[in-house]
């Protein structure tokens, strides 16, 4: 049994919207062990973003306890939360959020600046991280010289580089086309399997969630189910798990393309496949 990485008990988050009190998250409890690949699913407004913010130490809960890698972080100050994020967490965003005028290398080095890592070591680690995600030959490229998938790889490298306890991916394929999405998910899956990285993935796409070996469903601020990914529509997607890289790539792509054509919400993938040029500026 792997050690506990995340232990959440009776987590509650209440927002004050004018006179109305909104219960974004009510009494959520679960554990995540080291090396798990967990998806958090739920429709918009379900509280999954709130849960993600709390797990990412970007926000503090109204009540409850959150043990991250052995540290109680529920009621830390903003500054201490910054420190926890720097040391224990890696973020992957839907819009990549790379610094637009800086090279891939600089982007990946950036988090380590705030951990006081010397420049030489930063460069060394950032280069390794970029190689791990297959961007070793493009370390001097700027985001506008990279495709969306390549940008997301850089973002994954940036999340990895500080050897975090947990990587949090918030809709990492939301701005990518189907094929690129598969590639990005394959990288995350490989990191999880080969390097034992703990990955928490927020998505509302069952296909994407299916890459995880455990899915938490959130609805109306409550955790409504916790178990392996649904095997119905996406069952033939699962061969991806555990297969060799080449087979994995081919297999997943074929299945996924098939899925696009047949699933009732098939249009969604196409609809979401626009490449966003939006960058932080």
């Amino acid at each position: 049994m792997q050690p506990l990485m995340i232990s959440v008990r009776n987590l509650r988050k209440t927002y004050q919207m004018g006179d109305v009190e909104v219960q974004a998250l009510q009494d959520v409890s679960f554990d995540i062990r080291q090396g798990e690949f967990v998806s958090i699913m739920g429709p918009s407004g379900s509280g999954k973003s709130t849960l993600m913010n709390l797990l990412g130490c970007l926000d503090t809960p109204t009540s409850g306890s959150y043990l991250l890698d052995g540290v109680e972080v529920a009621q830390l100050t903003a500054n201490d939360l910054s420190l926890v994020r720097a040391q224990k967490l890696g973020f992957i965003f839907q819009q990549y959020n790379l610094l637009p005028r800086q090279s891939a290398l600089r982007n990946v080095e950036m988090p380590m600046i705030y951990r006081g890592v010397p420049a030489g070591e930063r460069r060394r680690r950032a280069t390794i991280a970029l190689k791990i995600v297959g961007m070793g030959s493009r370390i001097e490229h700027r985001p506008n010289e990279l495709s969306g998938g390549q940008q997301q790889r850089v973002a994954i490298a940036r999340a990895l580089v500080g050897s975090p306890a947990v990587v949090l991916a918030d809709e990492p394929t939301g701005a990518l086309d189907t094929k690129t999405s598969v590639e990005i998910m394959a990288i995350l899956q490989r990191l999880n399997q080969a390097q034992g990285l703990t990955v928490i993935l927020v998505t509302h796409e069952p296909d994407v969630a299916a890459y995880a070996n455990r899915v938490l469903h959130v609805r109306d601020g409550l955790l409504i189910s916790d178990g392996p990914p649904a095997r119905d529509a996406g069952s033939d997607l699962q061969p991806a798990l555990g297969l060799g890289p080449q087979a994995e790539r081919d297999g997943v792509r074929r299945n996924r393309l098939n899925l696009v054509a047949t699933s009732p919400g098939g249009g969604r993938w196409c609809g979401r496949s626009k490449w966003s040029d939006e960058r932080i500026g």
Binding site: L83, Y114, S137
Partner: protein, 443 residues
């Protein structure tokens, strides 16, 4: 595009040979971010937005350039004026009636307590002076056959010529005999002679002042302006004539003749204070005043103190100009604040990202303050170069020597950085206060 991606995927698989595993990072990051790291981030961001950075700097550039140039010009003008006065001679002491506590020129001559006997007593002291020149001045209308002119008419003695370095263009100066005899003779300043007689011969002609016919015996060479009232615009008569016939200079008790001032040129500058105190003691004794000087009815002035006053005035004027230029520097600072606020808004997601990966509020605050400081410092240095260039160009024209002093450099650059710091704090605080969740979602 598809092939590109496939290739990189291929590379990823090859790279994944298990040698590429990131070892756990041991640095905690608990210490504040190093200042040079922040500076590097700020510089990178400023270089990335060159146009905007330059436009932001423009206000500071103009402000600093004008402060530096105006300080140099003011300093140059001040040096020019003092040089002119020094050329006249700083060894001149002037004794005037009036109390030393009231330094205003309006008071001088109010109580005309200084007499020709005082002047003679000073001469009798045998001080180390080149000459003692009492004078009794008035204003009058000079009437020549062809023209007339109002001018200052100075009643003087021959010593006046020596003390004031007057040279004659034609004719002769007054002599002792003419002073003793109150002879009706006159020496004209260059402008006066020109106004009365044009280019014609003035010496030998007659002019009339208050119905007194006076024979012109000399015309002074043109001296140009310098100090108070130029000698070019004056006419000179024997002091006795001025006192007795022209302006009525008899003292109230009727025993002596009043003078407007007594000028002395001290031989050596080091004797100045000694000579000054001897004269003060003598006059206090003669006027029966206390020895502490509190009741003096005269004052002794020297060119040095006049120079000091003038220097004060010119530096005040320079400071005033620099202050006006400084206002443009403050406006430049507001420009910095403006652009920094825009920049913070534009970079909301960058700020959110930096916070998400572990930057503390203090790190963000520092980054934006350093950016403002770098902008103002760079603007200050460019402005300094421009201002110094301007001052140098003025020097090259030969009109004025306009040196850029170290204090002007420190003042302008220091002030511009203070402005940058002051106006950078507010945008930096806004940036630091951003909530990472909202900042990351900012569109």
């Amino acid at each position: 595009m598809a092939t590109t991606i496939m290739n990189t995927v291929g590379q990823a698989e090859h790279a994944d040979d298990h040698a590429l595993i990131l070892t756990p990072l041991t640095t905690t990051g608990a210490a504040p971010i190093a200042l040079w790291e922040v500076t590097r981030i700020s510089l990178a961001s400023l270089v990335a937005n060159k146009t905007r950075s330059l436009l932001t700097m423009l206000g500071v550039i103009i402000g600093v350039a004008s402060v530096v140039a105006l300080l140099a010009l003011g300093g140059g003008a001040s040096t020019y004026i003092t040089d002119q006065i020094t050329a006249i001679g700083t060894n001149v002491l002037t004794v005037e009636p009036g109390s030393p506590s009231s330094q205003g020129p309006g008071n001088s001559g109010a109580a005309e307590t200084l007499t020709l006997d005082d002047a003679n007593a000073i001469i009798a002291l045998n001080l180390p002076v080149i000459g003692v020149a009492p004078s009794f001045n008035g204003n009058g209308q000079l009437i020549a056959p062809a023209a007339d002119k109002s001018a200052t008419i100075a009643g003087i003695t021959p010593a006046y010529q020596v003390i004031n370095n007057l040279t004659l263009k034609s004719g002769t100066f007054l002599d002792d005999g003419q002073v003793k005899g109150a002879s009706p003779v006159i020496v004209l300043g260059a402008t006066v002679a020109n106004d009365l007689f044009g280019s014609g011969q003035a010496v030998g002609q007659n002019v009339r002042i208050k119905d007194q016919p006076l024979r012109v015996i000399g015309v002074l060479a043109k001296k140009g302006s310098g100090g108070f009232g130029s000698v070019d615009d004056q006419a000179f008569v024997p002091v006795t004539l001025a006192q007795q016939r022209l302006f009525g200079g008899r003292t109230p008790d009727g025993n002596s003749w009043r003078v407007s001032s007594i000028a002395l040129s001290v031989t050596k500058a080091s004797d100045m204070s000694g000579v000054q105190s001897r004269i003060e003691m003598l006059l206090r004794d003669r006027h029966h005043l206390g020895t502490d000087g509190s009741k003096d009815d005269f004052r002794v002035m020297n060119q040095a103190s006049f120079l000091a006053t003038l220097t004060t005035i010119t530096s005040l004027f320079t400071a005033f100009l620099a202050a006006v230029a400084g206002i443009s520097l403050v406006v430049g600072g507001i420009g910095i604040m403006n652009i920094m606020l825009v920049s913070v808004t534009e970079r909301t997601r960058e700020i959110g990202l930096r916070k998400a990966v572990g930057a503390r509020s203090g790190d963000i605050l520092l980054q934006f303050i350093v950016e403002a400081l770098v902008i103002s410092l760079a603007g200050g240095l460019i402005g300094l170069a421009l201002g110094a260039g301007l001052a140098f160009a003025v020097t090259l024209t030969g009109l004025l020597k306009t040196p850029v002093t170290l204090s002007a450099i420190l003042l302008s650059v220091g002030f511009s950085m203070a402005v940058g710091l002051f106006f950078g704090i507010y945008p930096a605080r806004r940036a630091a206060a951003l909530n990472p969740i909202d900042a990351l979602r900012y569109e």
